[in-house]
Symmetry: C2
Subunit: 359 residues, 2 copies
């Protein structure tokens, strides 16, 4: 069933059917009604491929994420899909899993499907691939790392804002020895967080001995290892700020194994505010980076680039604030002697079966 079938049954030309469906105002309301009736009756849905072919617009946006199985991304995908669908766009999702081969394939797929734009929400991407997309004038939007050229938008994240809040929150709770667990140091986003931490600490005159910054991997495992290192320090920190929530969750998990009670003995702060962080024990105090807003900005950036047909094709900039959200994983620093006591906690990892209790 195609547009001609409708035309025949409504006794009009296909042009009129097309105009009706696309709500071109010059169609006589009488005729339009007749057309709509047939459309409804037959359950006709226009063929998007044909439309795309003739209009040159696919109404598809590509969405490239690092790993859909990383709890940070599903929220973004969901929000992005929400908005896209509302505006009659489809999304072509790809999860690169940090594999260059997959990235290349992803870009190829996007080009073959003639996407109208691509949101690149991945940490790290080959320049040559981006060039491939730029060459075909596909509007792009990046987080943080986009080049400053026409047709490329950027969402700048103000890490400083939330991280400063976190540091000051901890300082207000009398924490002096604050540690930081970074992400992989080749990620620009991880470096930016680390820099923000250092800046915020310096601002209030707190020193950071090098051993109090440990390198993680933005996964639970990294957080677990980080805690082991930090707990073994002579001047054990009383608070740990983490480069992302998964790291913080790893820290908390391992702290539990060591019988370190959070937040009594140790305050922990995360970053991202993934949904899961509401459900840890205790709920995680973290710096929120709104996934919904991120998706919204990304979509808006692409859309405005597409809409602006011939006019100035300047890539725009968006700014996403981060904000501390207080939950249960932070508390007053242990007072002097308690701190001493807690530093005496045996550093033997509890045997698996025995579990839970801190004697």
């Amino acid at each position: 069933m195609d547009i001609r079938e409708i035309a025949k049954r409504a006794k009009v030309s296909t042009a009129t059917v097309s105009r009706t469906i696309n709500r071109v105002p010059s169609v006589d309301p009488q005729l339009a009604k007749r057309v709509w009736k047939v459309v409804e009756e037959l359950g006709y849905y226009p063929n998007t491929q044909a439309r795309a072919l003739v209009s040159g617009k696919s109404r598809i946006f590509g969405l490239i994420v690092s790993e859909i199985t990383n709890p940070f991304f599903p929220e973004i995908v969901q929000s992005f899909e929400d908005i896209a669908v509302q505006h009659n766009y489809e999304i072509l999702l790809t999860s690169t899993v940090h594999d260059p081969k997959r990235m290349e394939l992803a870009v190829r797929r996007m080009i073959e499907r003639r996407v109208d734009g691509v949101a690149i929400l991945t940490f790290g991407m080959e320049d040559s691939l981006i060039e491939d997309l730029r060459f075909r004038k596909v509007p792009l939007v990046f987080v943080d790392v986009g080049p400053h050229v026409a047709g490329v938008s950027n969402i700048r994240i103000d890490y400083q804002h939330g991280i400063r809040q976190a540091v000051q929150h901890l300082a207000a709770l009398r924490h002096l020895r604050i540690a930081f667990v970074t992400g992989p140091l080749h990620l620009k986003s991880a470096l930016a967080r680390k820099a923000a931490f250092e800046g915020a600490m310096q601002e209030i005159g707190l020193e950071i001995p090098p051993e109090r910054i440990v390198v993680g991997d933005h996964k639970m495992e990294g957080g677990m290892q980080a805690l082991v290192q930090l707990a073994g320090l002579r001047d054990r920190p009383t608070a740990i700020l983490c480069s992302n929530d998964m790291t913080a969750i790893g820290v908390m998990r391992e702290a539990y194994e060591y019988g370190i009670v959070i937040p009594r003995d140790l305050s922990v702060v995360g970053f991202d505010d993934i949904r899961l962080s509401q459900f840890t024990t205790p709920p995680l105090t973290t710096v929120q980076m709104s996934q919904t807003l991120l998706a919204e900005y990304a979509f808006k950036a692409l859309r405005s680039e597409v809409e602006r047909v011939a006019t100035s094709p300047s890539g725009s900039e968006y700014e996403l604030l981060t904000n501390l959200v207080l939950r249960g994983s932070t508390a007053l620093a242990p007072s002097g002697d308690i701190a001493m006591k807690s530093s005496k906690i045996t550093l033997l990892r509890r045997a698996p079966g025995e579990s839970t209790k801190n004697r």
Copy 2:
């Protein structure tokens, strides 16, 4: 840049270019090489829309899931995408969020984009929508609930297999009072799990007093409430089997608040084996339902339906086994007097700040 541009530069007809690209064997290798060279040089990628239009195949599969933010689904999406991409298919993802309006829109989108098949991995879906797809002869694949008609495949899940293992595992650990936390009772999958539990219990002659089955919601909250109920029972169960992992995680979380030590005082078993369940404290013993295999079967079902052009269009059936995977949340049942002791644990919920310790 289109196929004609290539044809012109390679001094052949568009037909030859098309044949070359599609690897039709009747093209002279010499010519083919010439064509490929131009293709490479210009970085030409065929326009999928045009291909779809003329071939009648979009090479897109729809994938409808309940909620991408539910940790069960990202793994499936990832696996499905993997396989799809390998076979040059694209996926059109939609997350219904249990909203009938969104489901309707999703189906409409799928039809407009002329998907070659739809995998419906959602719990519950309006029949009228399915009818809409069936009417257009779109191959479908369901989990459990699909009708037994041509063009519709089904992946049957053998809940019994894994749940029996779980029950027998608990029985072997001397648990006699085993409780079950169901999912929402309007879900066929939740009912099937409950039935499997009852069957397995009956099989080994264990009774299930009605109060030992409590209704959850397949979310953490439901698990938390369930624990409250079960812990309040006179004959407190020594083991709890949950209809899914999120429920089990909720149970464990609340148990922690009550100072009930897992697995010493209480064994907990989940269902699904989401990745997160490896990272709980203690790691969750659970019944695995392989998300990878599920995705694989779903894809295979659709593909074989598409491939089989004119031949017998019979929907096929797949069976997915479930299997117990042992981790740390199950242990020997507390012996008689310990059980008594543990049943005397105060039922006061610990004050938030105090947290962690079971004195």
